[in-house]
């Protein structure tokens, strides 16, 4: 039995750190210098402080990353002026796959040809000294948004740039974001990242970690997302991280969103306390609809407004915002700022009642809690020395199985569909260890769906295109 524990804490990372910082693009970053720099930036640059000062409304965080420094500076100002509470730095996909040469080449082309060849900010190419200037004088937290199985160099440079929130994790940045990066290696690399975050942290200025709950953003059953979020909170806690956020993506069902929020909050707290990690503070982040967006501008705006209202209802600590151009492409600074203004407007004007409940919400929450509990217990029960090894073993066994994952080793036996309330139901659990009773409940809730028999691509597409 390998329960999560601080015995798994990496005792000496120096040798590995030397290797990581030996990369030419690390440009001789010095951890001590970065430590001193972090001690001087404004305190509100640390998410734990921003969260502590939060009023009644969820904090707002857009996405945003463009190749060139000047354009990123302009975008940062526009988003801050529009009322963003967290400033994003979204990293391009080449850098996410450690293809720094391609990133450098495409950065140059973007400069020369005056339009973007990269879908984000190539931080490793720009380096931490230049990137620090993006945030000179900023008193809001900056969040690194990427999808990087091996993020060791990227995160060293990001923290070196004064970025105090690091999104990601061994599971959530491997299974949805790579075609086959070995999961065991990703889990170990993210142990290193968690450890570095802990080393840079002080009680008042902790480097904050946030897990990516939406995963493949496509028909992921909430129980699976809840389990993965709890695993990553535990893995980070093992390394000494003290400030963490779990998150999940809008499911497409109002009922299931409210139930997921309530179960995720409760179970992550229980799991941390049960393993002696009472000291870790946990927040809840809600991602606006992460699946296929409607092309029609008015519908996209309505989707953004409706999901902002749900964020208010579930009392999310932070909401990650989409724009009306989501189905088209990377949005302009104006469209992005407009999305921040609209979400802020909805959160302010539709002051939603806290703690709402209903019979359908309570039933959904009970089912999700039972399913997540069963999967976690099964993983805790696996033999082995380290909790991360049990996690890896569970993935190989198909106990952790992510619908629509590009990963070659993903079991792909877990099948899901939407019920009449648009909630995501488990048609076939595959090897996922939920109880037979829960599996039966899932299928019963599906009986409402008339065309459940037909699994033609049209019917799967209908569930994916729910919001179009």
């Amino acid at each position: 039995m390998a329960r999560p524990s601080d015995k798994a804490r990496l005792r000496h990372t120096d040798r590995q750190r030397e290797q990581v910082l030996a990369h030419p693009l690390a440009r001789g970053l010095c951890p001590d210098e970065v430590g001193r720099f972090l001690a001087e930036v404004p305190q509100r640059r640390f998410p734990s402080v921003a969260y502590a000062q939060r009023g009644r409304l969820p904090l707002i965080q857009p996405r945003g990353g463009v190749p060139l420094f000047d354009a990123q500076l302009a975008l940062t100002k526009a988003l801050s002026d529009a009322g963003a509470d967290f400033i994003p730095l979204t990293i391009d996909s080449c850098t996410r796959h450690n293809q720094y040469d391609t990133a450098m080449q495409l950065l140059r082309r973007s400069e020369e040809e005056g339009h973007s060849y990269l879908n984000g900010y190539p931080l490793v190419c720009h380096g931490h000294e230049l990137t620090r200037q993006l945030y000179a004088g900023l008193d809001k937290p900056v969040s690194l948004r990427h999808g990087t199985p091996d993020a060791r160099l990227l995160v060293e440079l990001a923290i070196g740039s004064g970025i105090a929130e690091i999104e990601g994790g061994g599971l959530c940045y491997c299974l949805p974001y790579s075609e086959g990066f070995p999961l065991d290696r990703a889990l170990l690399y993210w142990q290193y990242v968690d450890r570095i975050c802990a080393l840079y942290s002080t009680p008042e200025r902790p480097i904050h970690r946030e897990s990516f709950g939406p995963l493949s953003a496509t028909l992921v059953p909430p129980a699976m997302a809840i389990v993965i979020e709890i695993i990553e909170a535990l893995l980070a806690a093992e390394q000494g991280v003290l400030s963490f956020a779990v998150s999940f993506g809008q499911t497409g069902s109002f009922t299931q969103d409210v139930a997921t929020a309530c179960v995720l909050r409760r179970l992550v707290r229980e799991a941390l306390d049960a393993h002696g990690f009472q000291a870790m503070q946990v927040h809840l982040v809600y991602h606006q609809w992460m699946g296929q967006f409607p092309m029609q501008r008015e519908r996209a705006a309505a989707l953004i407004a409706g999901s902002a209202l749900i964020a208010g209802v579930i009392g999310a600590d932070k909401i990650v915002v989409k724009t009306v151009d989501e189905a088209l492409g990377v949005p302009s600074a104006e469209v992005n700022a407009e999305a921040v203004d609209t979400v802020r407007y909805v959160l302010r004007t539709f002051a939603a009642p806290a703690m709402i409940d209903s019979s359908s919400i309570a039933a959904e929450a009970a089912l999700l809690a039972s399913e997540a509990g069963s999967i976690l217990e099964a993983i805790y029960g696996l033999s082995g020395d380290m909790f991360w090894e049990s996690v890896y073993r569970a993935f190989q066994l198909g106990w952790l199985d992510l619908p629509f994952s590009p990963h070659a080793d993903n079991a792909n036996r877990l099948l899901t569909m939407r019920d009449a309330n648009h909630s995501i139901r488990i048609v076939d659990p595959g090897a996922v260890p939920i109880s037979p009773a829960d599996a039966a409940s899932e299928r019963r809730l599906l009986s409402g769906r008339v065309d459940e028999a037909s699994t033609t691509y049209r019917q799967i597409l209908a569930d994916i295109m729910l919001m179009v």
């Binding site: 974001y177 075609e179 597409l461």
Partner: protein, 156 residues
């Protein structure tokens, strides 16, 4: 990085006679797989034999696979915006390995951000693509076009 050699997925090995043989996959450091999954299902339901390279491919992966299975068409997907870079000179690569007549389609969000539709289509036609489906969520029309193009014997 993906191994340069063809991935040994079961459908890959021996093309079935009579069925339209199509190679498909996502190009660049792009991991968007949902559309890829849907397109495979749709093509198979319309009677094609599909050789799916899945995600994070380079142009040479497509060319090698097309040669190996004597493909009649190649469906290239690009969602994350890297298409403009990786699709350059695609037709030329095919000509160099004697596959110059293969039908070549591209679709998804093939450039970064919003660019005039006409400019995007011209760009990829310049790369040698027969048809360009930029920001077109529905795969239906492309499959109809495929059978029309095939019927016109544009390919052996």
């Amino acid at each position: 990085m993906k191994p340069a050699a063809m991935p040994d997925s079961p459908a890959m090995t021996h093309p079935r006679p009579g069925k339209t043989r199509i190679v498909m996959g996502v190009i660049g450091d792009d991991i968007h797989v949902v559309g890829n999954r849907i397109i495979q299902l749709a093509l198979e339901e319309s009677g094609c034999q599909v050789f799916n390279l899945r995600t994070r491919n380079r142009p040479e992966h497509f060319c090698q696979a097309a040669l190996e299975v004597n493909a009649q068409a190649i469906f290239v997907s690009s969602l994350n915006g890297e298409g403009e870079h990786w699709c350059a000179g695609f037709r030329q690569r095919l000509q160099e390995i004697g596959m110059g007549d293969v039908l070549l389609y591209v679709g998804g969000n093939v450039v970064v951000g919003k660019r005039p539709e006409s400019e995007v289509i011209a760009l990829f036609k310049g790369y040698g693509f027969d048809r360009v489906y930029h920001q077109r969520p529905d795969i239906g029309p492309a499959i109809e076009d495929l059978f029309k193009d095939l019927a016109h014997g544009q390919t052996q």
